[in-house]
């Protein structure tokens, strides 16, 4: 068998080196495109969801998110949670938030003048923040697309999530939005029975729905609007854990303080919901289906090329058999040829993938409505897809070679 493989390699190597280089370039190019199609289409589809998950974590939830129990209006004994978070060494930073249901109304003075007009008002979650703490956990404060974010002294200002404004989130999508609202405009915010006017300081756009459908103000101002019913009302904590720290370990320690009975403690992946995983799986299947088509096209290409190569060399195949070169050796030489094409194509594809596409998509994510789409590529995924392509190519190269090699030796020599 060793001799068979050695002679097959000898034949394949000479063929590759001495055949028309344009043929090699063409086949390798096709294989490279196939590899990229296989990896990139899947990577973009999965990356679309990964981008959403990443945005959710980066701009809203942090690594861990503590929220009030669904049946509660706020977190009970928030002070106990604060104490636990302060004492946990695995936590780098946390941001306590007050969240209240309310409404925001733009152009409210015009609605007084024209009472018959439909009021420019939408229901929102109004969030009170500690600006410094929020900045240490999420990128919300740096996701401003118009105006500026709040500072610790902006008592009379709010920042609005982009999805509440029609130019960022057209009403056609289904949600009610505010129209013609810009930084500097005045809006009226109502929480419970308390209404107050604020000036818009900025508009944030994070591509995380939860963050982009909120109105942000200083926590001190929202507390005032809640009429001081609770001295420290808190509804949410976004937590960032220290580098090289196990998320599960930190969560386990937080839960060991008995916080699980007071609030929901979830990782950002859990908090965003299982449906995201299901969408991701669906997109991955879709990507694989599209990729499979390209693998079939590549297989057919290799089949045709090897078949034409073998049939035009039928006489030489006959002569090789005639002088005693075994059929298996000749078949393996074509398998090596196919393997060479696919490996070179895959190598070219990997170089383009990691040298060009991945850095490009990192620097210029695709602007999807609900996420910044990244190219989601894992080493394992690349290895699996490369293997699929290589194996398919080998089979596609072997079959035509076998068809030609098994013909009668003399018929091949005489070209009958």
């Amino acid at each position: 068998m060793l001799v068979t493989l050695r002679v097959a390699l000898f034949l394949a190597r000479r063929y590759i080196v001495r055949t028309n280089p344009w043929q090699t370039i063409l086949v390798v190019f096709v294989m490279m495109l196939t590899f990229l199609n296989l990896v990139v289409v899947n990577g973009i589809l999965v990356g679309l969801i990964d981008g959403a998950v990443f945005g959710y974590k980066k701009n809203y939830a942090g690594d861990l998110l503590i929220q009030k129990m669904p049946e509660k209006d706020q977190i009970d004994h928030a002070s106990a949670i604060l104490a636990a978070l302060e004492s946990e060494p695995g936590i780098l930073a946390y941001s306590p938030r007050i969240v209240e249901a309310g409404t925001i109304e733009a152009h409210f003075r015009e609605s007084v003048a024209f009472p018959d007009e439909v009021r420019d008002r939408v229901g929102v979650a109004v969030v009170g923040l500690d600006i410094g703490k929020e900045a240490s956990v999420t990128s919300l404060t740096t996701s401003v697309v118009e105006g500026e974010f709040l500072t610790e002294t902006d008592d009379d200002y709010v920042v609005i999530g982009g999805n509440l404004i029609d130019r960022y989130f057209p009403a056609a999508i289904g949600l009610q939005t505010l129209s013609n609202v810009f930084p500097g405009d005045r809006v009226r915010i109502e929480v419970g029975s308390v209404a107050r006017e604020f000036k818009i300081k900025g508009i944030v756009r994070t591509k995380a729905d939860n963050a982009d459908l909120r109105v942000y103000m200083l926590a001190s101002q929202l507390k005032k609007m809640r009429n001081g019913l609770d001295s420290s009302p808190l509804d949410e904590f976004a937590i960032k854990i220290a580098p090289n720290t196990s998320l599960e370990t930190v969560r386990a320690r937080i839960l060991s303080y008995g916080i699980g009975a007071l609030a929901l403690v979830q990782t950002s992946e859990e908090a965003i919901g299982e449906f995201i995983d299901e969408i991701k799986d669906t997109f991955a299947i879709l990507g694989n289906i599209i990729g499979s088509i390209s693998v079939i096209v590549a297989s057919i290409t290799i089949f045709i090329i090897i078949f034409i190569t073998a049939i035009t060399r039928q006489k030489y195949i006959g002569i090789l058999k005639g002088i005693g070169i075994s059929g298996l050796t000749i078949e393996f030489s074509y398998v090596f040829l196919s393997l060479f094409y696919s490996l070179l194509g895959i190598t070219g594809g990997v170089l383009i993938l990691y040298g060009v596409l991945v850095p490009y998509f990192e620097a210029h994510p695709i602007d999807f409505p609900f996420s910044w789409g990244v190219l989601s590529v894992t080493e394992l995924g690349v290895v699996v897809r490369s293997s699929i392509l290589a194996i398919t190519t080998i089979i596609a190269g072997y079959i035509p070679a076998r068809l030609i090699v098994k013909r009668n030796t003399l018929d091949s020599i005489l070209g009958r």
Binding site: V3, R6, V7, F10, L11, R14, Y15, V17, R18, T19, K315, Y316, I319, L320, K321, G322, I323, G324, I325, S326, G327, T329, N408, T409, L410, I413
Partner: protein, 239 residues
């Protein structure tokens, strides 16, 4: 015991519903060290006979025994292996692999027999040197003359010291001078003890053989030394 013993060999080709009897029952014995020329007109069956004797083809009927091996009992792989180890071939149109250099073409059967690359290269170079091709070893067939290609073809056929060398019209595409040189090489090989079976339609070249078999209409019409068949007196080409 004869090196090749063919008994009652028939070869029938089917062309649609028509049966073409290329060989109609041939009996031949070829001894070790003989130089046999098979001659005949085009379509007489001389090449078909050589293909049967060299186990490139299967006879429809009859048996062929080579060096004590009954060839009908061999599987396809065994026949290939037998050809590799026992036989050498020189084809009419040289049949060199175009992507390989002269040296690599000669190395190929040696590598297949299990020789290492260095050993195969040394043996190939020695045979090519013997045939006067020492300055052509790195050339591919496209850059060799017809005569040079045929010498490379001979080198490939004899590099592994085959028991029998088969040559199918080896001078067909060569000019007179090159053909004469080629025949001289073959006679030298014969004198060194090589068994040779050559198909030709050139009486002049057949006359260089030790024994001549005349095939006509799928049968052996006559056989004997060139002198017995008076080939040396005939200059007319049978074609």
């Amino acid at each position: 015991m004869a090196l090749i013993k063919a008994t009652g060999v028939k070869r029938i080709f089917k062309v649609g519903s028509i049966e073409v009897h290329a060989l109609r029952g041939v009996d031949i014995e070829i001894e070790q060290g003989e130089f046999v020329a098979i001659i005949g007109k085009s379509g007489a069956g001389k090449s078909t006979l050589m293909y049967q004797l060299s186990i490139l083809d299967h006879p429809t009927e009859g048996t062929i025994e080579i060096d004590g091996h009954i060839t009908e009992r061999m599987s396809s792989a065994e026949r290939t292996s037998f050809r590799l180890n026992k036989l050498g071939y020189v084809f009419q149109d040289y049949a060199l692999v175009p992507e390989l250099t002269a040296e690599e073409n000669v190395m190929l059967p040696l590598l297949m027999r299990g020789d290492g690359a260095i050993s195969a290269r040394l043996k190939a170079r020695a045979v090519l040197d013997r045939l006067g091709l020492e300055d052509r070893v790195d050339r591919r067939p496209g850059r060799l003359s017809g005569g040079e290609q045929q010498r490379v073809s001979i080198a490939r056929a004899i590099a592994h010291d085959p028991v029998i060398l088969f040559a199918d019209e080896p001078t067909a595409n060569l000019d007179t001078e090159t053909s004469a040189q080629l025949l001289q090489y073959m006679q030298d090989l014969h004198r060194a003890g090589q068994t040779i079976v050559m198909v030709t339609h050139e009486l002049e070249y057949a006359a260089k053989a030790q024994r001549v078999i005349v095939v006509e209409d799928g049968r052996i019409k006559k056989a004997g030394t060139p002198k017995e068949l008076e080939l040396h007196q005939r200059r007319v080409h049978q074609s």
